[in-house]
């Protein structure tokens, strides 16, 4: 896996943005038929599930989070699968950890401490997450605080109103300033797609955020009524593909919220493989924002090995 050059962004190109279309019915048809077109079984399924697991941003974003709770989650991130299962799969256990831990700012120091020596980055949701309506200066400052606290990745939320009012210039400038505030930390732009009204808006907002320097684009906060879906994902990754084809820069993709089944994760990976290619099947370019997905993957891995359906209590909770 080669190290990628970071996206420096582009001047806002409104001609490009406004030429972008997204036909909902056609996109839905593609997504509906894909699971029937690609079936991943047996050893391949086990490998793909492990891949999915290593792409998880293991997340806790609750008002009742505590340092101890976060430490427990971090331990799970480092050791997400039972050792005996990995041995049976002939996979070195040090290869298998989640891609990151994702928490609120206040939990960043605890997470950084718990992950010390693991190479697992801490991602902080930021900029007045989830609504993004706190004072602009505070939102910028929040990014700085989290970076200072040790967050290597910042998940910002965009101002949905800029999309809904088609104020692309404002969206571009906001994203640019967030990116600047992140410094060396990588920035994921959360579009909150469930609140953008149309897939066309999702597509255009995706493109704007990439032009403004986003390293990743991400669907949702997990707090909207509709979070990650395959159609939204297809819409966003097609923009990533176009951006790559025009500029040569790889932008990452993170669906978040609502992905809790191992089978779903396979569909997402297949969609990425089909539309973006194998290079995007790595945690530097693809993440699942999820919490309960991991447990289902563990159960499926055990089933793969034992031939018997597994149970939750046989796997450690995070």
């Amino acid at each position: 896996m080669n190290l990628l050059q970071r996206n420096p962004g582009l001047p806002l190109d409104l001609d490009w943005v406004l030429s972008v279309q997204a036909n909902t019915s056609a996109i839905e048809r593609r997504c509906k038929t894909l699971p029937g077109r690609r079936s991943i079984k047996k050893n391949h399924q086990a490998a793909w599930l492990l891949k999915a697991l290593t792409c998880i941003d293991l997340t806790t974003l609750s008002g009742d989070d505590t340092e101890q709770r976060v430490r427990r989650l971090c331990r799970k991130a480092r050791m997400p699968v039972r050792r005996d299962l990995l041995r049976a799969l002939d996979i070195a256990s040090e290869r298998v950890h989640t891609a990151a831990i994702c928490v609120y700012h206040e939990m960043v120091p605890a997470a950084v401490a718990a992950l010390d020596g693991s190479n697992i980055p801490v991602a902080a949701v930021s900029t007045g997450f989830p609504a993004g309506l706190s004072p602009y200066a505070l939102r910028l400052a929040e990014i700085g605080e989290s970076v200072k606290a040790g967050a290597a990745e910042i998940d910002i939320v965009i101002s949905r109103r800029h999309v809904l009012t088609q104020d692309w210039q404002a969206l571009y400038e906001e994203m640019q300033s967030f990116r600047a505030a992140c410094g060396e930390a990588h920035v994921k732009a959360i579009l909150a797609t469930g609140e953008l009204g149309s897939l066309r808006n999702v597509a255009r907002a995706s493109l704007i955020c990439m032009m403004a320097g986003a390293d990743f684009i991400k669907t949702s906060t997990g707090k909207e009524s509709v979070n990650a879906t395959l159609p939204v994902s297809l819409t966003m990754i097609r923009q990533i593909r176009d951006y790559y084809e025009r500029t040569g820069y790889h932008i990452g993709y993170k669906p978040a919220g609502g992905i809790s089944k191992a089978k779903d994760s396979l569909n997402y990976l297949a969609l990425i493989k089909e539309e973006l290619g194998d290079r995007w099947l790595q945690p530097d370019l693809f993440r699942f924002g999820a919490s309960s997905l991991l447990g289902d993957i563990e159960r499926q891995l055990e089933h793969h090995l034992s031939g018997h359906y597994s149970a939750n209590h046989r796997h450690a909770i995070g």
Partner: protein, 790 residues
């Protein structure tokens, strides 16, 4: 492969569907099948067998029985024997059987799917997710149609025995499209599946047994094309339904000409796939996967001609090529395969030959950069750009996974390119502009148009084409009429009326009037320079009418063609003009009545009644002009399938002698009310009603060329009209036995024909002489699929 290795490659691996159950099903039947006649499988002595293979690996699947003439007779006889009972049990009772069949298809869905893929080579995904669910849906829909028939189609009854010949590309689905409506409407069937792909039809025969279907209602004969031919030409068959190649369809049309059989043909296509610069380009690229790479491109309605607007063509072609390189071709039983095997080595060779020869004329070929199996019948996905209408590749149906493409500048040019074909089956139009989409769909000559989608099918929406893609619809209400006849239809022979003879004396004291032909809104002399005297019933000469010939027909068709914008006029305007014709005819009521009396000797009162009824007819079709609505079909998508009634185009009409004025007005009025233009050859015996009528037309604001009248002996012009390739339909009400020759000659462009087969029609009767039967003949149903949603 080991898990840690796969983690590096992230390959899909294989996910083979087991063929064990289907192979066991074959084995349990000795891998040797008989014919399904009268509810049982039979294999009469002395029958030859032929082999059916799995095209993916060339392995022998089973031996099938080659039916012989005696078997065809037995099957038709069984169907005939069962028909009356099947029809008379009523729609509700029939519905129970259709429902049971639908359920059984679902219960055995995987067996059907696997068997289909084994026999045909299509990916298991398609047989499992597309074909078999559509089959079940078709039987459900028609179970409902059977129930509703009595109330919704009260004037209709079954045709009788249907002979159905189906192709190898959708073996079970085409069976369903044929059998379900036939049974629903009370017909019984003899079905001949394709030689390459008969197995699912034989499994279907078993579920007919399982459903307790009365013996003889469904009969299935396997064999080669000669069996199909024998089935369709069998004298005791009432209806022929064929799906397959245009060449065979043409042959069938000729072979059964004059037999009085109803016929529907669903033939070839070369359907356009049009992408505008404001389309969702990625989705349009993906759509092509469903358009031309469904079923290895062996789909009559495949979007096989790509037209991209110039401004986005380069980007589109680049995206298309990289999409192609992601397709997966191989073992059709693999659940991760997009493209399976070509049905047979013969078809594979045909594709190769067409492409290789076609490329000599130009074009830039891109073959998907993917691994293609070397064993079995496989052809890689191919896109040939820079192909122009002059190239064979743009004109001829390849029936394989080969897309050809060109570009266009404007919507008008897109329409021109799309319509530059002998076919007229389907079209896909990609644009985010609803104005553009809904403007274009009606302009493209086709039976099905898909907006921002492609290859969508459903039992509730009619499917079928025009031009050399055939005629008739399958599915929807419109499809049901292919399996019924009006119960009011006369079974009395039509008597020939000889024109009165007489002397050259004219009626005393009258000024000479010279009836001419009426072409392009002008009164013109016949090309021949000859005239024929018309005598009164008492032998006095009433006038001389021009002897129209083939050149007059040619000129009239030219005029009718030039007037095609009539189709775009508003229904309100057409209604106004029909009312105006009625009004002007009414003013000359006495004169027209006198003329009828003079020609036919009819009593004054009855002649007046004929004029009055003619005026009524004009009112009826003026009324219908803006009321013969289409439908918004309830298809299972978020969107609409709009069934629009479109005019057929140019209709040639040879009129009845029975009622010289009424017989003409009764056919002219529905034709023009629906937006057709026509070439009318009036009654031979009493042509003066027509030549008088053009004066009425001239004063009624009817645009020039909409109605053209050529007085002629029917036998002098009938072949010219039937063979004329610009004429879209031909109606025949004459009495001198041209039905057969019209059907035979119609194959030039496979025009629709409506002939009387020598039976009379009572023009005075409100059912026989007017109504929706006429409107259906005057229209094509175009289904426009419009998915929506933001």
């Amino acid at each position: 492969m080991k898990v840690n290795k796969i983690l590096e490659t992230m390959d899909y691996g294989t996910a083979p569907e087991s063929s064990a159950a289907a192979l066991k099903w074959i084995e349990e039947r000795g891998a040797d099948f008989g014919l399904f006649i009268n509810g049982v499988f039979v294999k009469p002595a002395g029958r030859e067998s032929f082999a059916t293979h799995n095209p993916a690996n060339n392995e022998l699947l089973a031996k099938l029985c080659q039916a012989q003439t005696a078997d065809v007779d037995a099957a038709v006889s069984a169907a005939r024997g069962a028909q009356a009972g099947w029809e008379s049990m009523g729609g509700s009772a029939r519905s129970k059987y259709l429902y049971a069949i639908a359920r059984l298809v679902q219960k055995h869905s995987r067996l059907f799917a696997v068997l289909e893929t084994l026999d045909n080579g299509k990916p298991i995904r398609e047989s499992r997710d597309i074909d078999v669910p559509l089959v079940a849906r078709h039987f459900y829909f028609h179970a409902g149609a059977a129930v509703l028939m009595a109330d919704e189609m009260p004037d209709y009854q079954a045709l009788g025995v249907a002979a159905q010949v189906i192709p190898w590309n959708f073996p079970l689905l085409m069976l369903a499209w044929k059998i379900a409506p036939a049974l629903a409407m009370g017909n019984t069937v003899v079905l001949k599946p394709a030689e390459y792909t008969s197995l699912t039809a034989l499994l279907f025969a078993e579920i007919c047994q399982e459903a307790g279907l009365p013996n003889g209602v469904v009969n299935i004969l396997t064999g080669n094309g000669s069996v199909g031919e024998q089935v369709v030409i069998h004298p005791d068959v009432d209806k022929v339904a064929f799906t397959g190649s245009t060449a065979v369809g043409r042959h069938i049309r000729q072979a059964i000409a004059g037999q009085g059989k109803a016929i529907t043909l669903e033939l070839g296509g070369k359907s356009p796939y049009i992408v505008f610069d404001d389309a969702d380009i990625d989705s349009a690229v993906e759509g092509l996967v469903d358009a031309i790479w469904l079923n290895q491109g062996q789909v009559c309605c495949a979007g096989s001609r790509l037209f991209v607007q110039e401004g986005v063509a380069e980007v589109f072609h680049r995206k298309l090529r990289s999409r192609m390189d992601k397709l997966r071709i191989g073992d059709p039983m693999d659940k991760s395969i997009d493209i399976g095997a070509i049905v047979d080595p013969v078809q594979l060779q045909s594709i190769k030959r067409l492409v290789d020869e076609g490329l000599e004329e130009g074009g830039h070929r891109h073959v998907a950069a993917i691994d293609c199996p070397s064993e079995g019948s496989f052809y890689p996905p191919t896109f040939i750009s820079e192909v122009d209408p002059a190239c064979r590749l743009m004109q001829e149906e390849i029936f394989g996974p080969v897309l050809v493409g060109s570009t266009f500048r404007t919507p008008a040019e897109a329409v021109a390119l799309a319509n530059n074909t002998r076919y007229g089956l389907a079209a896909s139009i990609w644009t985010e502009n609803i104005n553009l989409a809904l403007d274009l769909a009606p302009k493209i000559v086709c039976g099905v148009a898909w907006i921002n989608t492609t290859n969508q099918f459903d039992a509730a929406a009619g499917f079928g084409g025009c031009r050399e893609s055939g005629f008739g619809r399958e599915g929807g209400w419109e499809g049901l009429y292919a399996y019924v006849r009006p119960s009011y239809q006369s079974t009395e022979a039509l008597e020939l009326i000889e024109p009165p003879q007489g002397s050259s004396e004219t009626v005393e004291g009258s000024i000479d009037r010279t009836p001419k032909l009426f072409i392009a809104g002008r009164q013109v002399r016949p090309d021949s320079g000859y005239s024929t005297p018309v005598y009164s019933s008492t032998g006095q000469q009433l006038g001389l009418v021009g002897q129209g010939n083939r050149k007059d027909i040619r000129n009239a068709v030219e005029a009718a063609h030039a007037a095609r914008s009539w189709a775009k006029s508003t229904a309100h305007l057409r209604a106004q003009i029909l009312y105006y014709i009625a009004e002007n005819l009414s003013v000359r009521r006495e004169e027209f009545a006198q003329r009828i009396t003079a020609m036919t000797g009819a009593a004054t009162e009855s002649a007046k009644a004929e004029v009055d009824l003619s005026i009524d007819r004009l009112f009826i079709y003026a009324a219908w002009a803006d009321k013969y609505d289409g439908a918004a079909h309830g298809v299972p998508i978020r969107g609409l399938a709009l069934a629009m009634h479109e005019p057929v185009g140019i209709i040639g009409i040879l009129c009845s002698d029975q009622a010289p004025l009424l017989g003409m007005v009764s056919v002219l009025a529905p034709a023009i009310a629906m937006g057709n233009t026509c070439v009318i050859v009036p009654s031979q015996a009493y042509p003066l009603a027509a030549t008088d009528l053009y004066q009425v037309l001239e004063t009624s604001d009817l645009p020039a060329g909409v109605v053209n009248i050529v007085t002629a002996a029917h036998s002098d012009v009938v072949e010219t009209m039937a063979g004329h390739m610009e004429v879209d339909a031909l109606w025949y009400f004459g009495a001198d036995g041209h039905s057969a020759s019209i059907e035979r000659a119609s194959v030039t462009n496979l025009k629709r024909t409506w002939v009387n087969n020598g039976y009379s029609r009572d023009w005075q009767d409100t059912k026989q002489g007017a109504g929706k039967e006429f409107l259906r003949q005057a229209t094509e149903v175009k289904n426009i699929w419009i998915p929506y949603g933001e």
